[in-house]
Structures are given as C-alpha cells and as structure tokens.
Symmetry: C2
Subunit: 324 residues, 2 copies
DNA sequence: AAGCACTATGCACAAACGTGCAGAATGGAG
DNA sequence: CTCCATTCTGCACGTTTGTGCATAGTGCTT
C-alpha cells in the first residue's frame, strides 16, 4: 500500500538526512533491504519530501554574482557549466538548476504565471514534485499562430508545472498575437478571458525566458511563424532588442510606442513588474541583448543564467573564471 | 586561500545537488581530485551552504503526528528512533534532528532565546553552521545556583549557538532563582539586566526543553541544587508538573499563584507566548507530564520529540508504530 | 631566508550506494 | 477462485563516495 510506503519514505529521509544514519542502518530499522531504502530515499527526493537548497551568502559569493546583483538589482544565480558544452547541454543544465531553484519558492496558494518557449520547456522537464494546495498555474500569453494553435506545445509546459506542484492549470487559449488590435480589445472584455487576466493580475510568481531579436538561434517568436514580414520590419525600426512573453522592449527597457505590443497577448511590462517574484531564466550568451533590455526594464527579481552569459553581461568577454 | 575554496565549494554544491553530476565529473571541471570535491561538499554541508529540509505534507503525514497536531495545535516533528536505544542515544538522535530542523528557521536579524539544560546542551552539540547577520542569541534564564555560577555550563550552550550562526551572544549572569523576590525586583531595574530583558521581549525564536517533576532522571533544576527542601515541598503542594526555563506551571498550563516563579529569572509564560516561533525539544517519555503542561499552556509552536514520547502523548502506550 | 605550524591535496583502500534483473507480492477483472 | 498485469523486493554487481595517511603547499615568525 502506498500510504505506508510514503510514511516509510518520510522516516527514512529523516534518518538519512537529519540523523546521518547509513542506508544499511535504516534498512534494519525499517525491516527491509538496503536497496529498498535507497529507492525510498530517491522517491522522497522526487516527490519533494526532501528539499535541498543552496544558499550562498550574498556577500561572500563569487565576484561575478555580486557585480550583476549590484548593477541590475536582481537576485542572481549563476549556473556553473563547462565551457565546452554545446548550446543544448548548457540549456539542460541551466534548466535543471532553475527548476530546483524555483521549487522552494513555490508555496501553497501561489498563483504562478508561466511563459512558453524553449527555455521554459526545458525547465518544465526538470521540475521536482512538491505537494501544495490551491496553487494555480496560469499561462502568461497566448501561443497560437497562423499555422498551429500552439496548444500542445505550450500546454505541455503548463501541464508539467501543474503536475509537479499539484496545481490547477489555467491555459490561455488565444493566439500569441492578434491580427488586429481591435480583436484584442474585444476579447479582453470577454468574461472567459477576463478570468485569466484576473488570475494574472494576482500572480505571486512569474517564470519566463527572454527572446532576443539577434540570438544565434532566434526564439520561437521570431522564427516560428508568429510574425510576418512587415511585423519584423516594424520591430527592426523601433529598436526592439527582445521580448518577454511576447511583449517587446528596447535596450533601455522602454516599450512605449511599440505598436506590436497592442496586438500581443502577454502581460504589459508594468503589470509584470507588480509581481512579487519574477524569475527570468536565460541560457546562451547570444541572448545577451534581449536580456539587457529585460533587466533595464526591471522585469526580473531573480535571474538564473549560465556562466558564459553572466560574464558577457558584466563586460569581461570569455576569460577564465574569476576566482575570488 | 580560503576564498577561492569557498567559491569552489559553492560551485561544487550546485553541480552536485542541483545538477546531479558525480563528484568525478565535478573534479574534472574544477581541475582537482575527486577526494577534494568530496571534502568540498562536506564543508558546504557543514557551513550551511547546502540546506536540506524535510517537509512532510501535513495531511499525508503519519497518524501520530496529525493527532498531536490537532490536539495541541503545534507543528510537530516526531523523530523516528529505534525503541531499543537507551536514554542517552535517543537524546542524541532527537538533538541532532532538532538542530537540523532549527537551522532553516534561523535568519538574519533574528533574536534567538535559548534555555539551558541537558536537552539544549545536546542540541547545541549538533548545530550546523549557517551564516547570518546581526543575529543575537540571548539566554532565557539565569543559571547560577548555590554551588556554582552555572556560567560555564550554560555559556557553553550559548557559545555553540552563537558560533553556529555567527551571532552575538548575550548571557544572563544571574542565578536561576533569587532567594528573595525583592532582589529580583531590584535587579530587574538595573540597566544591564534590562538590556537582556529588552532583547528577550523582542525574541523571534525561542528554543527550550521541558522539566518534569516526576521524570526518571529529574532535570537539572530539580536535582542540581537550585532549589532547597522547602522550595520542593511548596512545588509539590501547588500541583506543579514541570517547568520551561525555570518557570513552573500546572498540568492545565496555569501558573498563577506559584510563588516560586516570583523568584525565577525565566520569562513569564505570557511573555514567552508572544514569541513568534517557540520550539520545544523533548526526549524521553518520562517527561510526559511536564510536556502536557507546557502544551496546555500553549508554550510551543513547534514540538520536536521522539517517537515513544509522542505515542505516550496521544495515549496509546507502547504498541507497534502505527503505519498509516 | 629559514624554520615552523598548519592546512590542503592526492592516493589507495574500504565503505556506502544505485540499479538491472528475476522472482514474489499485490490488486483487480472475469 | 484463478488469472493476468502491475508493482514491489532482494540479490548481485559495478559505480560512487568517505577517509587515513604520507606529501606538498601556505603563511607567519624569527
């Protein structure tokens, strides 16, 4: 029966992590085999029963982190990754650490806003379970485009977040961009849409990546058929450097007068800034310009990024890691 | 140099605990030996860089815990210990788990009130370091008696708490009990004493054990020469079941009219109840009566105790552990 | 500059741990 | 009750990790 198993896992976790007993000793106490204890513990970790947190004292942390922290006023987590790793492997490592960093921040009664994109997809694959109550996961921006409804892609991400935290999932079934601003206005008055907007307005946590117009591998948004020729041309002329949840901004963080935003379904930057905890995950140094804009706009309270990007962010190119 | 070592420890901890790499892989990345990584990680754990927490979802927890939780309205942590262990070993295990449970609760700017006694002594020996700022550890009650100033004993406990959290330590250099209530009144007006009282009034965390008059091995208070014959006789006649920080109470939690309290240096129960987080650590089923009184008095918000005592607390004697 | 006390490192070995696999236990469905 | 599908268990093996010891490094004193 699964209930006694859960209870055994709890006992085992306490004895292993809090009392420093060996699995062997625990096995004897629980009258089972050592392998079972090993599996109980691994289950305890997977289900979020055991929470492992790394807290680096802000002031003794590495040079790099404190520079970013000071300059942009965000809580920064630099993910150490071997330089030789390729883009995909780096993303995987960053996503894993991001997932585990987010975990402890999620609490019962939270309303978690989630964007979509390759970064969030990767993060969603690494979430560890954590049992919470009355938590809601709400989609930040629509995912439909001219070719697909985008539903499966975005909803996979949402679903994974939902099941990791035992949360209700609220999708946002609209396209990423409307063709006409008027449609958006109309839709925004629909009660079904307003329910989502209302949830967004009450978010306690938001998680998003950034898009950068000049990234080596452009984000979904710039490549995936969400925007047409003329849209891209307009973007280029308005000095846009990137986006968060399909809302665009310039290098200095401003977004006024960017017409495309009037057709976008993402939350206005001013609204995003209201959210208590805003977690930005970035992997890949080529997103640097988008990231700079997002930070200038004050969109993030927490920034999780790989080491190479962190170094580019503060200026020194690709030198060896500064060690103290 | 210790600074680069700290930074390496942080990197290693992130890679090991957050990215699931093996120590071998980390060693290669850090250009050092695997053994060094093993030691870095162990240092990271010892210095509180890595925080491991066990959170059992309140509603799926073992029967025993939820019964206590409901009945006494405290956050309870039952420490699983083998029944065959003797008193001392049990205390050690409970103390270890208590120390690690307290760790995550301590934060910068906290004012931590600490009682003294064999339980707290044991706990103090198992604390894991955690770097905080402007934290203060303050002694809850005096420790002097007719034979000794009690300074070394109590101050060892205090010192260990202080160094674990990098906190300032504020001793309370008075006897446990004054001979005359008038002396207490006088002393309480001294500015040196008021500084301590003032700190106590602003405590955010208090940690204490309980004394029980009928315990198998009576607490220091009842055995250590703190009270004389007539004191003990008076206690017996006022239905006192136990004490917290040398303040006495009856089984129903009341303490009015217990004259000895007028000479005691511990915080009034009403004052203790003001503290946000009040952690009571108990090991040994013979303290059950003192514990019942303390809980009735609402002295604890968190209770950490061994399994046998927990079972006695809810009534069923020493049966096999209930397993869901 | 030399000496000294202390700490950090790598090696090698032993202890502890994770996991594929085959068999046992469990829980429905007929 | 019997069958089947699924889950759980212990074993055995290979991998990963902790640690005593000898050596190398570091910083402080004279």
């Amino acid at each position: 029966m699964t209930l006694s198993r859960h209870s055994d896992a709890l006992r085992a976790a306490q004895m292993y992590y809090l009392q420093d007993l060996t699995m062997d000793a625990i096995a004897r106490e629980l009258r089972t085999s050592r392998s079972t204890v090993s599996r109980l513990l691994s289950a305890a970790r997977d289900t979020g029963l055991v929470q492992i947190q790394i807290r680096n004292p802000l002031d003794t942390g590495p040079e790099l982190e404190s520079m970013i922290r000071r300059e942009y006023n965000v809580d920064v987590h630099v993910v150490p990754v071997l330089e030789s790793l390729n883009e995909a492997e780096t993303l995987d490592r960053v996503a894993m650490q991001a997932a585990r960093t987010i975990g402890p921040l999620v609490d019962s009664n939270a309303i978690i806003g989630i964007a979509w994109g390759s970064t969030l997809s990767a993060v969603s694959r690494h979430l560890t379970r954590k049992i919470t109550h009355d938590t809601v996961v709400v989609q930040l921006n629509g995912a439909g485009n001219m070719h697909t409804t985008g539903i499966t892609y975005a909803s996979d991400i949402m679903r994974r977040f939902g099941s990791a935290y035992g949360a209700r999932v609220e999708q946002f079934p609209v396209p990423a961009f409307f063709d006409h601003a008027a449609t958006k206005t109309a839709m925004w008055n629909e009660r079904s849409v307003q329910r989502i907007l209302n949830l967004q307005a009450r978010m306690s946590i938001a998680v998003f990546g950034v898009g950068s117009v000049d990234a080596d591998y452009p984000s979904h948004v710039y490549a995936g058929g969400y925007l047409d020729e003329s849209d891209l041309k307009v973007l280029a002329h308005s000095d846009v450097v990137g986006d968060v949840a399909t809302v665009f901004f310039r290098r200095d963080g401003s977004s006024d007068g960017i017409v495309l935003n009037e057709r976008s379904t993402g939350p206005a930057l001013s609204q995003l800034r209201q959210v208590r905890r805003r977690i930005c995950v970035v992997s890949g140094a080529s997103k640097i310009n988008g990231l700079r804009g997002a930070l200038s706009a004050g969109l993030a309270t927490d920034l999780i990024l790989d080491e190479a990007t962190a170094r580019r962010l503060v200026g020194f190119g690709g030198a060896a890691r500064p060690n103290g």
